[in-house]
Assembly symmetry: C2
Homo-oligomer: 386 residues x 2
């Protein structure tokens, strides 16, 4: 277990810098538009149709401003000051499509871009920017019936406080007051929190659109904070953060949700999935609680090997789906190390053994949210098929 | 009407700088603790038992850093650099109790404090700080049953998009699936949005606590964005933003809420209240729709005079509560001008005329959120008495 943690921690650190799609850069097309994640009325940051990002920040007396996005390994994008108050600059190449966290380094201090909205990642509220993806339609806000995302505060004896979760209920939830729904417990990654899947993940819009297209049976999604203690990233391999979280999830949150929402509360109607660290947690918690979870998803957060299957009693009978996904740029990472063999080979071995094993690779994305939006979009139609 | 808008705009501008409780300053007690609104793990900003705030920010090569809080009219709090990377400073005097928006000016540019969480005000996500109030218990997160705050996306034909609102449902909402509830529509102020009342207003916790103490009959609160166009503060008196918002609220949101939640949808079970600009909107919209609203609250956002009563057919019969409140420091403002006479005298005149008129003053607060948290706390028990 310890080894597995460290391998993943290595993966995250390395893949975090893979932001650029290519190194030979095309000429920049001047069709920049404000990022869709800008604060109201803010023109910058802007993005163009190729995926370049352009930044502009006012700070008349600053000495230097850098943007953490661009060429991560080489220090991001350096802004240049005009003759007045404004600093500006454009990424050296196109960024990967989808959502990116970033921040400014102003005179050596870390601050957010006042033009952008903020998203919790890297254990801080970071600036966010959105590079339009060719398949952005599946997570767009459309004129379809919308489900709700509601904040619940559930009592947690094990941690001595009220804890927060967000619950997505499908559009039909309020129409038929008798109908009960299956539930997916969906976890964020390290440095993120329970806001991640709805804010940067757009999980609710992905669900609304899939439901409107008739591609899935509606289900509830529950998203809560996956840590009960503040653990530094470098300590992930040495400190057990999953056991206390398992207590919160299994003993406290699930009973609260089953009491306060109209759920189908038996094992065949409960799923768990998570991204990155949340995938690690998902694997550990579901393997220890196969009487409670039937569908399992690891998104950029580990794989299931035949060794896992063999050492987990009941795996073949109880696991109705073993979904594993990665961004394509993660798989190309020679230092990745997926803690238990090649994920694609693993997935194929499980399939041969008669397990409903599905392996998905998000094209041209790294360890970032477009990989996970797409993974949710791929996984959701496979859940609760029985 | 135009005159009324301009008078209030003047009020807001002036009262916004009244942050300091006093000008003769006591010796600083060194019992500083991290503000409860800090980002996870962040030590600064800190506040002490007297209400002083202390800031610390890393920016080794910056030339100057100022905090907008402190002595507003005199330029806030100037931070001083130590021999290393850190800038720090303490407000010249204690701040008013409660919530304050603020930002940093670094080398002439406006940025947020990386230590604090962000709250939407002044048409940007600002840093927030909380000075503990003597009565903070009424808005504290306690071990009581909690209601939910849910994001809804409702279709709006008049604005051609899905619009967002947050809906507070009381803890009992999911227990008895037959029970129906009255609804309060609760509006934010200028430069804020639909997140304000739950985030900085703590409306859900105020309600949870009042319900747990048996002081109110549970009701639903709906909070949505009160503008349909981006209007600069200086144009508030010249541009009609209330009419298009009234269309969204009355023709689109209310029917959506009444369809999708278990509401009591008749006039005696619907209230509207708002703070500052939201109070101005509340007055205009309720006066034009007395067949739909029975309880009305203006929080630092105007008053009801006998002139209003006389020129509004049905006022005496249909208005079950005319609640008006201000922060004490707003009333002392000689340039305030409440657009229609002294609010206390107005309230008394209405009472004499047989109207259920209630006037509340929040002690030692200005045009800020502690005034409005307290106003909600005072007003809620008066709603839906019939």
């Amino acid at each position: 277990m310890k080894k597995y943690f460290i391998a993943l921690a290595t993966l995250l650190t390395v893949s975090g810098s893979l932001c650029l799609a290519q190194t030979t850069q095309p000429a920049i097309i001047e069709d920049f538009k404000p990022s869709t994640l800008n604060q109201p009325g803010q023109e910058y940051p802007k993005v163009n149709s190729q995926g370049y990002a352009r930044f502009m920040v006012a700070a008349p007396k600053a000495q230097s401003i850098k943007v953490s996005l661009g060429l991560g390994g080489r220090g991001g994008t350096t802004l240049v000051k005009d003759t007045g108050a404004y600093w500006s600059g454009t990424t050296e190449g196109p960024l990967d499509k989808g959502f990116h966290y970033y921040h400014l380094t102003i005179d050596g201090g870390v601050f957010n871009d006042p033009g952008a909205m903020n998203y919790y990642g890297s254990v801080r509220w970071e600036s966010g920017i959105e590079i339009p993806a060719p398949d952005q339609d599946f997570y767009a806000l459309k004129d379809v019936p919308h489900g709700n995302v509601q904040q619940i505060l559930f009592p947690s004896k094990s941690t001595g406080t009220s804890r927060r979760a967000f619950v997505y209920t499908p559009p039909s939830y309020y129409k038929d007051q008798a109908k009960k729904y299956p539930v997916l417990y969906l976890q964020h990654g390290w440095g993120e929190d329970e806001t991640a899947w709805a804010n940067q993940g757009r999980a609710n819009l992905i669900m609304d659109n899939l439901i409107a297209e008739g591609k899935i049976k509606p289900f509830i999604i529950v998203m809560t904070y996956g840590m009960t203690n503040d653990i530094k990233f470098g300590s992930l391999g040495r400190v057990d953060f999953t056991t206390p979280f398992q207590t919160v999830l299994v003993n406290e949150l699930i009973p609260y949700v089953d009491t306060n929402f109209r759920t189908l509360s038996d094992q065949p109607h409960r799923a768990m999935a998570g991204l990155s660290m949340g995938g690690m947690e998902t694997k550990i918690i579901t393997m220890a609680n196969l009487d409670k979870f039937a569908y399992i998803g690891l998104l950029s957060g580990g794989t299931f090997s035949m060794d896992d299957v063999n050492k987990t009693p009941g795996f073949k009978e109880k696991v109705k789906l073993a979904f594993v996904s990665f961004g394509s740029r993660e798989l190309g990472n020679p230092r990745g190390g997926f803690g238990g063999g090649d994920p694609k080979e693993n997935a194929e071995a499980l399939k041969k053994a008669g397990i409903n094993s599905v392996f998905y690779v998000s094209p041209e994305t790294a360890h970032e949210f477009l990989s996970w939006r797409r993974s949710l979009h791929e996984m959701a139609p496979l859940l609760f098929k029985d």
